[in-house]
Structures are given as structure tokens and as C-alpha cells.
Symmetry: D2
Subunit: 135 residues, 4 copies
């Protein structure tokens, strides 16, 4: 399976009083991961949005294994989890870079909707670029 | 089962370019819900933290049903989901107040640890106040 | 001068590793303050936005006097600072409620623009509701 | 004058319903800028914090010139603004990288305090690394 890696440096603004990244901020990391994956694939999210197609999250989850801490350089690993007719699932692993440590694993499931929030099938250009990534 | 309700008004800072609350912000709402639940129960989170006991989230998830929008007055409903020996689960439902609409459902699972990040049993005072809430 | 007060409870997600509200989050509090002020005045922000009029911040600042801490109940006091032909300034004071303590003072200056980002004069209905508040 | 540049990619989570970066998020960018400046100078913020020295923001401000938008690659330019006996000021310019456009200018003023929140002089190692940067 093909994976995509993005780096992210933790700032104080991401952390809570326990000196670790606040649990809700991991979902920002997941967005960062899938955005960069699509950019790497040659289909920036902005191009999809410019066609009036939106990809709302309909489900998301995260399992926290170890805490990401202030000033950590994180690796956000993104994979295509599953492609359905009307939805797509991404899987994420968050690592500390040095020493290389798995910190969290998560997922998001997205629908595709138009301007009127009508549900669409997964657009052909999305299927085209992600085809083969799940194998 | 006993539930606890907290209100929250959505600001622009919570929303994304699709004019809806960013999916990661729901986890802030969940924290707000469980904090107010413990305050209502007479055991503020701060008192637990002041004893050197921390309650890191070890798993969290959310299913998004309808979008919360700018200026919505939200109801955060919090329930005790499950109490184990070393962990506790909270369940949440997010509603728009007017008209009353279910927007999202989620959960968080928490461990209890001391200052040295050693895992503890659920403290007796926590068990005491939440006892009976799951029935 | 007339002032408007909104309450806000600090959560862990607002705080940084020094156990205080992150300095950037005060600007979220300011938005909350001015939004509630306009609602109290009978002209919700959403009604202004629904007319295709936007009020981007063109300048903002904050002086931090004492730290807001986790679980503090804050009072956000909002005042009209100045009304020009094409801009409006709000002033804010952030207090801890108990014991009553001034924590921060800030301001935001807003322009008014239409959908094409063309600068507009301050709309008459805004002048109407805020008239007299600066005296 | 020596300046330091850090890149940052805007995600949806940074943006508000007007499709631009929320005004409060610029202060996160400023933190990112000064953190990377100190790392470049060989004195990571974490090393300062590890000595029990904290650098709370006592004043901050931003002038917004053009809007940063979703998916923009931003350049955060950080400069030492002024070094006093007990405080230090940083100045920031935020640019869109392509086409190169000035979006915002801001500043933060920091005090130095110890664990008991007692105000300290600017530590000698900080003066050492920033000396000469203001010329």
C-alpha cells in the first residue's frame, strides 16, 4: 500500500496544560495529511472545491498511544483506507520523528456533496488518482 | 440514564470555509460537556487535577449527522458510557437547540494516570459520583 | 458608556503548557464578545452577513495583564470604541469573575466589505444600533 | 537586520466562513515564526523552558493587509524588534509565497519569568544569541 508522509512541528498553541498536543488537534493533523496526499497525487483539494464539490467528514476517530509533546517534529502518514460508491476513508498514523515512535492512529470517512449539499458519487478524477493506492 | 446538558454558542472561529463547525472542534465541545457534567456532580475536574491525577484521552470518535453552523446555539449532552477498572467512557450528543436537531454523536475513553504517567485505577471519588449514572 | 458582558468558561483546549489561556485564544473571546453585543442590540451578526456584508478585522491588539487559567469563568466586556465612515473599533476587557480581576484589554478594528471585497461605508443599521453607545 | 523565514501551509481548520485565515490564528503563526528563529539561532525555546524560564506574551498586535486563503503557502518572517532589560519584542511579516504578497504585519512583546511567575531580566544566553540581530 502506498503511503504519504507530511511533517509538522508542534507549537505551544497545539498543546494543553499537560504539555501534550490536545486530543482534538490530531484531527487538524489528519486534514493536513490528506491535503498533502492529494497534492502529491496531482489533484489539490482546492481544485475539487473549485468545482463546487465538498467532502464533509461524516465519521472520524483516533486512538492515542503516546503523547505528542511540545516541539516534537511529527510525521503524518496518510493512506487510502477504503473507496465506496459515495464515500472514501482515509487512515492516518502519527509518529514522532526522533526517536521514531508511533503516537496515534486515526481515520476519517468523507462524503462528496455539491453546493446544495446533495450527496454525490465519488468523482471520477478522485477515483482515478487514488486507484491502486489501496492495494 | 442521567444526562447533563451544556449550551455553547458557535463563533466564526469555530467554523470552516463551508460555513459549518470544523470537524475537529467537536472534540472541544465534548471536553466542555464532560467538564460541566463533573462540575454538576460536585467534583470539578480541577480538583481531580489538583491531586496530581490526569485523565488523558486514549480513544475518541465522532459521527457527523448534520452540520452545526455559525451562530447556532448548541446543546452538548453528556452521559457516562462505561466505567472499567482503569478507564471511563463518556458519550456525547450534540444538538442544535432551535429547531431541536441532532447534529453529531461521539465518545471519549479516558485513562487515569499520575504525575509520572503511571496508569491508575479509576479514583474512588470518581466512582462515587458517577455511580448510578449508567443505569 | 454602555458595555456588554458575556461569560465564558475556560477549557483545557484553550490552555497552553503553562496552564494559562494561549495568547491567541483571546481574539476568539473578543469575537464572542462583539457577537453577543450585537445580538443584545437586536442586530445579530448573521443578519449583517446574510445581506452580503462582511466585517473583516483590519487591526487587532491585546495587552495581557494577568493570566486566565483553566476552569476560570471569564467575563468578556465589550464596548464600541470608535465609529468612522468606513470602520468601527471595539474595545474589550477580559475579567476573571471570582475574584473579580482584570486579565487583559484589547481591541479590534473592522472594515465593511461586500461580496466582491469592495470597501463599504458602515451600514446605516449598524450606525443606528450603536449610536449613543460611545457616549 | 537579520530575518528568519518559516513556511506554513494553510488548512481548512485555520480558515473561517469567509474562506480566509481566522484573524486569531495569525498569533499561532507568530509563535511558529519565533520558535523557528530561536531554533535557527541554536537556542531552542524548549531549552529555555527546561531551565524553568517562561516567556509570557505581555502585548501582541496585528495589522491585516490582505487575507491569507485556504491552501496558501505562507512565509512567516520574524525579526527581533527590541531588547529591553526585562522584555523582548519580535516583529513579524506574513507573506503569501506565490505570488509574493504581504498579508499582515504583527508583533509580540515577551517578559521572562521563573516558575513562581517572578519577573526576570532577559537571560544572558538569549541576549547572546540575538545580539547583533537588531542592527
Amino acid at each position: 500500500m502506498k503511503t504519504f508522509i507530511t511533517e509538522y512541528r508542534v507549537i505551544y498553541g497545539d498543546c494543553d496544560p499537560f504539555d501534550v498536543v490536545y486530543y482534538g488537534r490530531y484531527f487538524d493533523l489528519f486534514e493536513r495529511g490528506r491535503t498533502e496526499m492529494f497534492r502529491d497525487l496531482g489533484l489539490p483539494y482546492r481544485e475539487i472545491a473549485d468545482q463546487g464539490i465538498y467532502t464533509p467528514v461524516i465519521e472520524a476517530g483516533c486512538t492515542y498511544i503516546q503523547s505528542a509533546r511540545y516541539d516534537d517534529l511529527l510525521l503524518i502518514e496518510t493512506r487510502i483506507g477504503q473507496i465506496g460508491r459515495a464515500r472514501i476513508r482515509f487512515d492516518y498514523s502519527i509518529y514522532r520523528k526522533n526517536p521514531h515512535t508511533l503516537l496515534a492512529e486515526g481515520f476519517t470517512v468523507h462524503a462528496f456533496v455539491n453546493n446544495q449539499r446533495k450527496i454525490l458519487r465519488v468523482p471520477p478524477e478522485v477515483i482515478h488518482v487514488v486507484k491502486g493506492l489501496t492495494e
